[in-house]
């Protein structure tokens, strides 16, 4: 078999029973791998009401047909039901873990059950070995990865949880290859509930390539395309993702103090330009990645990875904090403890507004950089105020009687683009299958950055169709499994070419788009069964009622209702957001 390794292992940590899941050629063609095949497997295995922390819940690590082959192909998709949102969730991580898992002989690993004591899994030669992890429990993610490598091999790639995952914090991350994170949606907490400290992999199996000559020629050409592109070949390399700080701030949509303003006066001091001048030691790159958007940094106290744009915002403008060292060290702490920085920072922002409003006597104030580190540490360990912050913003704001102060969709915190500044992004957030996430349809590309075409960010007409298109492309790329940043340099036909050369299968552009649409619709079907619907395809009331008074997004609100009916119509869903029978038939669902 070309592209795929042809084996997905399934293990029950309670009974220790192992089996191989066979995937038909037809199913591979319909869902590819990664997010798509992971969601398909999850939907087949688990009812929508499955408690994310129950033993029967499945946690699925997936690679794709391109994993371990072309550039940026070291990524992994982790799929389960999110303890933060209750939706289907996939979380994507860079590094090399995906490529190594495949070299160990697996396309994917499905984990159910709960071990009666801490364990880790060691995948090698197509086999899955369950090993005792009692001595690893309590270690942070850096210590745990090192310890597992000492017990296996220095070449082992390790995906693990830290104390946050062990304590089932609903936004705990899985960390791999040092500081790469499957950050969003609490996949680390699902892992912790299984008493599973780590999944480690090592191996030497190569991925079979259908057309090796074509592969070489194509790789050289794509290398040149990515190198010549000003975003992938220059901007991301030199300044990382935080180049966005000044861009989004200049557009008046850099969420400040829990989305109450769109301009952060101290943005410059937390920008990618400033990081490059002060903290940056070197850029870092994932497996076979020529871009290298990662930032290896050093403060006066410590060295580590980050911050990326979202984290700069979450611990910066969102909290009114301009101390770049405090932001960076909070980022390091999240990496070590295994926490999603976006939800962590946004929840602290929610807490700050709750305190200011007098709803919570927590003593937090805007700009309180000195408390960040302790708040992060206390959250991971459920200590003091951290026990409240560990709820995530939705449950926290509900607990203190002000649910409207949580900046979330379906329980997941909205990231660093205020939706009042980009109507398409607003629709993307509202209809995202995993909640307030920018990665389902990154409408900032056309609405702000002008890729692949420039769109009027304040217009609503026609946005429904483009959001649906972007959602489908994202689902597709997440299923191949490659880095989304390639989309700055290449279109759908290049993904089609890569699939052809690697797998030997011809996919038309239309078929690939249909695969993306099928995956998005399958996720939607799961969420419908889990109780989600039109009522949840919305945003916090702030975005409909409160206008900024300054900045270039002033006097704007989100006009969701103007787009939502169109969106459902484009999707082939009824006006409650439920896929119509004809749509399911067309997509073979």
């Amino acid at each position: 078999m070309n592209g795929w390794m042809g084996k997905i292992a399934k293990i029950d940590l309670g009974s220790l029973k192992q089996e191989t899941i066979s995937i038909s050629a037809e199913t591979r063609r319909r869902f590819l791998g990664g997010r798509g095949l992971g969601v398909k497997l999850y939907s087949d295995l688990c009812p929508a009401q499955t408690d994310p922390f129950a033993p029967e819940n499945a946690l699925i690590f997936m690679t794709g047909p391109l994993t371990g082959t072309v550039m940026t192909s070291g990524r992994t998709q982790v799929v389960s039901r999110s303890p933060l949102t209750g939706t289907i969730c996939d979380s994507s991580s860079g590094g090399s873990f995906g490529a190594v898992l495949k070299s160990a002989g697996l396309d994917g690993l499905v984990i159910q059950g709960r071990a009666d004591h801490p364990v880790y899994l060691y995948v090698h030669d197509g086999e899955v070995e369950v090993r005792d992890a009692t001595s690893l429990w309590g270690l942070n993610t850096q210590q745990a990865q090192k310890a597992v490598q000492e017990k296996t091999s220095a070449k082992t790639s390790v995906a693990c949880i830290g104390p946050a995952g062990e304590n089932r914090i609903p936004f705990a991350a899985i960390m791999n290859d040092k500081d790469r994170a499957a950050g969003r949606g609490g996949m680390g907490a699902v892992m912790g509930a299984k008493n599973l400290k780590a999944v480690a992999a090592s191996g030497g199996q190569a991925v079979a390539i259908a057309d090796s000559e074509g592969y070489k020629a194509m790789s050289s050409r794509i290398d040149r395309v990515v190198d010549k592109n000003p975003v992938t070949g220059k901007s991301l390399q030199v300044l990382g993702t935080s180049v966005l700080v000044n861009i989004i701030n200049a557009h008046g949509m850099f969420p400040t103090e829990n989305f109450r303003r769109g301009v952060f006066n101290d943005a410059e001091g937390t920008s990618g330009e400033k990081i490059a001048e002060t903290l940056l030691q070197r850029q870092s790159a994932c497996y076979k990645c020529p871009i290298g958007c990662g930032r290896t940094t050093r403060t006066k106290n410590k060295a580590g990875e980050g911050p990326e744009y979202e984290t700069v915002w979450a611990f910066g403008a969102q909290l009114g904090v301009s101390d770049l060292t405090a932001i960076t060290e909070a980022n390091y702490a999240c990496n070590e403890l295994g926490l999603d920085t976006i939800t962590m920072g946004s929840t602290i922002g929610c807490a700050m507004e709750l305190c200011e409003a007098g709803a919570w006597n927590g003593g937090l104030r805007w700009g309180d950089a000195g408390k960040l580190l302790a708040l992060v540490q206390d959250t991971a360990c459920r200590r003091g105020m951290g026990a409240e912050l560990a709820l995530g913003s939705k449950r926290l704001a509900e607990k203190f009687g002000r649910p409207e102060l949580a900046m979330q969709v379906k329980g997941m915190e909205i990231p660093a683009y205020d939706p009042r500044g980009a109507q398409g992004m607003a629709l993307s957030y509202a209809t995202s299958n995993r909640g307030g996430c920018h990665m389902r349809a990154y409408m900032i590309m056309p609405e702000i950055l002008g890729h692949p075409v420039f769109l009027d960010r304040f217009a609503t007409a026609g946005k429904a169709e483009i959001v649906a298109l972007f959602q489908d492309i994202s689902a597709l790329v997440d299923s191949t499994v490659l880095c989304r940043f390639l989309q700055f340099a290449m279109g759908i036909s290049t993904f089609s070419e890569m699939l052809r050369v690697v797998t030997g299968l011809d996919f038309s552009d239309d078929e690939l788009m249909k695969i993306g649409r099928r995956i998005y619709t399958l996720e939607r079907l799961f969420n419908i069964r889990a109780g989600f619907g039109r009522k949840d395809d919305t945003l916090p009331p702030r975005f409909f009622r409160e206008e900024f008074q300054t900045g270039s997004s002033r006097h704007r609100v989100v006009k969701l209702e103007e787009m939502l009916d169109d969106y459902y119509s484009v999707r082939g869903w009824d006006q409650d957001g439920v896929p119509l029978p004809a749509t399911l038939a067309e997509l073979d669902l």
Binding site: V231, L239, L449
Partner: protein, 95 residues
């Protein structure tokens, strides 16, 4: 009446021109004229990072006049006046 137009450089452009901003004295002018004046003042040829050979905007170039993208106005024919702020970004991305 003439006034100062602030031209701010970000990202890679700032590295190239080695200054965060310059001021151009003018009553009113087209953006293209402003860019040429700013290029002359900095002594750095940064226009090739923003414009193509036919002096059209490169895909991904962002030029904001008081926060508004000139693509939503009259592109390079957009007029700026003393007191305006112009932000210049060469193509960039992230997520």
């Amino acid at each position: 009446m003439a006034g100062k137009i602030a031209v701010k450089f970000y990202g890679l452009l700032r590295r190239q021109v080695r200054t965060p901003a310059v001021e151009i004295e003018a009553a009113e002018m087209r953006i293209l004229e402003l860019l040429l004046a700013a290029q002359k003042k900095t002594g750095q040829n940064f226009l090739s990072d923003l414009l193509d050979r036919e002096q059209g905007l490169l895909a991904g170039t962002m030029i904001l006049v008081n926060g508004e993208n000139i693509r939503l106005k009259q592109n390079l024919e957009t007029r700026v006046r003393g007191g305006d702020t112009v932000d210049l970004f060469s193509p960039a991305g992230g997520g």
